[in-house]
Symmetry: C2
């Protein structure tokens, strides 16, 4: 090869002492941003000082605008140990937009106001203002953080959050090195225009992403594998310092590596492969899995996994790491980078064969097979064996409301109020949101296989009030969308809890029959679960975390179009909610009127 075509190296961290190594790297990068304060108990407070602003950036070799943190895209990685306190002082440097950050997968026990959900857990941070997120990371695992206001996540406001096991603790598996890959999708149209199109009549869909990104890097107008294809795309040539140059995974032979994979995609469901290398899944959303090996793995928006792979292949070759779209007719080229046995092979040598071909986008059998292999490792907390205390069935439909295209749950399309629920529920502000409880089921004669006909769909801001400490079963029921023979993938994410995924099924959920199939032995425990087209997914969780929690489709445009619900539990048990999270809307007015405090 003339010039090297990818030579940006991602250096693994060693697992022998995962934190000391990883944290040293993290500290080198953001030396003056992260300060460690060790407590007498061994847990630390990790201080970060962040500024959010728009920046010109070329995530896919085409210049656009991203929402960055401290001049970085994606934002800086947070690395901590289980039991640590994370303290992020977040300054909004945007000119006219508010901002919040959600810590995806962190349960915020005792700190529901730090969940970073606009209109739910806090008022947004206004331009020029600073807010301190302070919360405990109680459990080791692979997490991420992202904007949760408007579609700011789609604009690039995200980053990794990795929690290592507490000092003296061990993971239930061995590995020699680690890579973190945060996956996302990228559009050339600005997020402001995307939001407008989705809210317009006639509706304008955002379309498929222009590019898939790995750690914020992708290639739109060139390909790393152009020499193999008969396409017109040209071969990418990188010096290595380009914002879109791929990060190469640099390994040495006969070692075990842990790959932490997280998906912050706005829309795309993804499939990941490393050519010639088996992957063994060991963690999902911060919970250990019964290890299982695959050639390719699916990952939906909001999910995270740890996979182990062994560098047992011919070390004089390089190997493709490839990410492709699933569940939507792909219009986006696969994302590529390379596994490089760096002491034997040059990083500029292209792999000997073309990138792996992904499973067919609509091969749902393949996807379901994978998803059903995801099971908890023995010893994980088990679901309460008793009968559930409450069952809520949530029908997911696409709807027209006044001619606007929306998503609705049991015929209600979520519109978030100006006052955060956490405050309006705590202080009994009756006008802050719809006080009628949203329906917990849908008409029994609804045909989930036929085109949506929901003339009575409405907007709503109601809340499912959950009795504290009860067990709640959720059935997510998919259905045909507005177009004929169409039903989409929806990965649902629950804030403030993990849930057990009791099962997946086809067609309409049946109380009598389907409940029998629930896996109560080793269901995966996680915060995000996919609902397959025309199918249902059954979840169980314990409402034991005082606060108000979003539960929503993690596809950003779907949430923007109303695809979510809100749960509240034990809000009265909360001590004082920090006033500064409630300075807006009716709670703000309440403070002004001095009726409380």
């Amino acid at each position: 090869m003339g010039g090297s075509f990818f030579n940006r190296i991602l250096v693994p961290s060693s697992s022998a002492d995962p934190c000391s190594r990883a944290c040293r790297v993290a500290l080198l990068i953001c030396c003056c941003l992260s300060v460690l304060v060790e407590s007498s108990l061994g847990s630390k407070t990790r201080h970060f000082k962040w500024e959010v602003e728009y920046m010109y950036w070329s995530p896919d070799c085409v210049e656009g605008v991203v929402l960055g943190i401290n001049g970085q895209f994606p934002g800086p990685t947070i690395r901590a140990r289980a039991g640590d306190i994370v303290n992020v002082e977040l300054k909004n440097k945007l000119t006219t937009e508010g901002v919040v950050i959600h810590w995806h997968g962190i349960r915020q026990q005792g700190t529901p106001w730090a969940d970073g959900t606009a209109s739910i857990s806090q008022c947004v941070i206004n331009p020029g203002e600073t807010f301190v997120y302070r919360f405990k990371v109680e459990r080791a695992g692979t997490y991420f953080y992202h904007g949760h206001y408007g579609m700011q996540r789609s604009a690039g406001l995200y980053g990794s959050l990795i929690v290592d096991v507490a000092k003296g603790e061990k993971e239930p598996f061995h590995y020699d090195g680690e890579f973190d890959i945060l996956l996302s999708d990228w559009w050339h149209e600005s997020v402001h225009e995307q939001e407008l199109g989705l809210s317009s009549k006639p509706f304008r869909w955002i379309g498929e992403p222009q590019t898939l990104l790995m750690n914020g890097r992708g290639q739109y107008n060139c390909s790393l594998a152009a020499h193999y294809s008969n396409s017109s795309s040209s071969q990418c040539m990188f010096r290595g310092n380009e914002q879109c140059a791929p990060q190469i995974l640099r390994v040495i032979p006969n070692k075990i590596y842990r790959l932490r994979v997280t998906s912050s995609t706005s829309l795309a469901s993804l499939n990941l492969q490393i050519s010639n290398h088996k992957m063994v899944l060991v963690e999902a959303d911060g919970n250990y899995l019964q290890p299982f090996a695959v050639d390719d793995m699916d990952i939906y928006s909001g999910e995270s996994y740890s996979v182990l792979f062994t560098t047992d292949q011919n070390p004089s070759n390089n190997y493709w790491v490839s990410v492709s779209v699933r569940g939507r007719k792909p219009n986006t080229t696969q994302a590529l980078t390379m596994l490089n046995y760096h002491n034997t092979t040059s990083a500029s040598k292209p792999p000997p064969s073309p990138p792996p071909v992904a499973p067919l986008w609509n091969n749902y059998t393949h996807s379901k097979l994978f998803t059903k292999k995801v099971l908890a490792l023995m010893g994980n907390p088990n679901p309460p064996p008793t009968t559930h205390h409450r069952r809520i069935i949530l029908l997911n439909t696409q709807n027209y409301i006044d001619g606007y295209t929306k998503w609705a749950i049991n015929n209600i399309s979520l519109v978030l109020p100006a006052t955060p629920y956490l405050g309006s529920i705590k202080y009994n502000l009756n006008n802050a949101f719809d006080h009628k409880t949203p329906p917990a089921n849908f008409p029994s004669n609804y045909d989930v296989m036929k085109q949506a006909q929901n003339p009575n769909s409405t907007y709503g801001s109601g809340v499912y009030m959950l009795s504290f400490n009860t067990t709640v079963d959720i059935i997510l029921q998919n259905a045909n969308a507005l177009a004929v023979n169409t039903s989409e993938i929806h990965p649902w994410h629950l804030h403030g809890h993990d849930f057990w995924v009791l099962g997946y099924g086809e067609g309409k959920f049946s109380n009598e029959n389907d409940e029998k199939s629930f896996n109560l032995k080793n269901p995966p425990y996680r915060n995000t679960a996919v609902v397959f087209p025309f199918g249902w997914t059954a979840l169980r969780f314990v409402a034991n975390n005082p606060g108000v929690w979003a539960f929503h489709c993690h596809i950003e445009p779907h949430l923007h179009m109303g695809m979510g619900v809100v749960f509240a539990e034990g809000v009265r048990r909360l001590g004082k909610i920090p006033n500064e999270v409630l300075t807006c809307g009716l709670t703000g007015k309440m403070f002004l009127n001095n009726k409380n405090d």
Copy 2:
């Protein structure tokens, strides 16, 4: 002609009973939005209910995104009588951006919190929230309103505000009909990107506007006069219902019409002509002028004028109404519409000759000649004849600060704080802004004719504290910008007051000599005054309006780059400031901490 090429008609309102006619029309348009409540004194409260949101729109026949009000662009016209109360209930329907509206030219005596300036008079209205602007329009005149947060004015957030004389009062001139024309300029790049470019290193200038708009209508990819030019632009063909179809001024012969012209441009200084028709200027910024006749008139951003013209030309022809760029090398086609003698000539007949040619863009002699003709009508309030009580000299320079391109006043580039000054001054919040008084002069050896060399420029948020009821003289001193032999036009606008324009001069202002040339007899009384390249402009006003008031260059990117100062006077005299304008920043925190109220 085949199809009619412009047939959208602007119907004049009659002056015989200007309000009854005009208001009936206004009411017809926004019937359910505007409600009149008559008081026992004859003055009325005029109620408006507005929602601000982004909309797809084609202001210049190219689709883009505008900030609209109630689905209209420009926003609805407010029409009231002197002495009325205007009550606008403004709902922010944006997803992530705050919003405010400034009522340009309305002095807000007794209601400084209704001035609609983010960070100065109020906290922004957050998404989903509603704020009520309520203020008195004490004086007849031609005004407008616009966004005053980030660059939301450039995004299209503006509209007309016309105040007729009180019942029983008469204007000092006669007219038979009226047209209102709000001028603006339009870019195809989104305002979010414009803001980012201006704040980036390296600096990215917004460039010249793609199109000039009259009442929000212009033509980018076609011309109304293509058949006269040898350009490649095609002839515009309109059905008439296009968003970019020009509004034709429909007149009948031998009448006098009042044309109210307002400029809300982001950047462009403009020149307006009506071919073959003399224009007589009679009002500027709500104050009557000594009438004078011109063939063409200049108008700078932030200014408004009323001109009279008589329909005394051949009624079997149509005539061009034309608007062109001044003071910057024009890269933007002139805006065109037509004067149509409608009972004798078809509106689709093109004028017999090409559109008028504007004065050369850099013919400043022509501009100064026009500007110096603008003098107050006898009987207008005169400036206090005594010596000024305080003189503040404001040097306008272009600067680099940490490599960022900025504008600065006496070496300080304005950065607005998160807490509105109105609250932080009233409640003595010392950390809310810079408490050092900004300089009232610049070094005497500064050479205004040479390239700016200001290595010590800084950001600042200081305030000029004015003693209540004192007379203040302001000298706006222009200078060479960063490029050699370059000095730009800056139209400065003062909130909360009108000022007398005492004079204009060349080069550096000299206390000894130039003061003698001040016009104390009939200086124009207005709220916006231009500073010519390499020149100075002298203003006088009385600091008799308790509040905090912006004084800034009305060129939107210049203000965004720091070209403004802040005055405060008599804040302690204010009674209670409505709490809801102070719910953000340190005043918000103060309310939370319950130390006041």
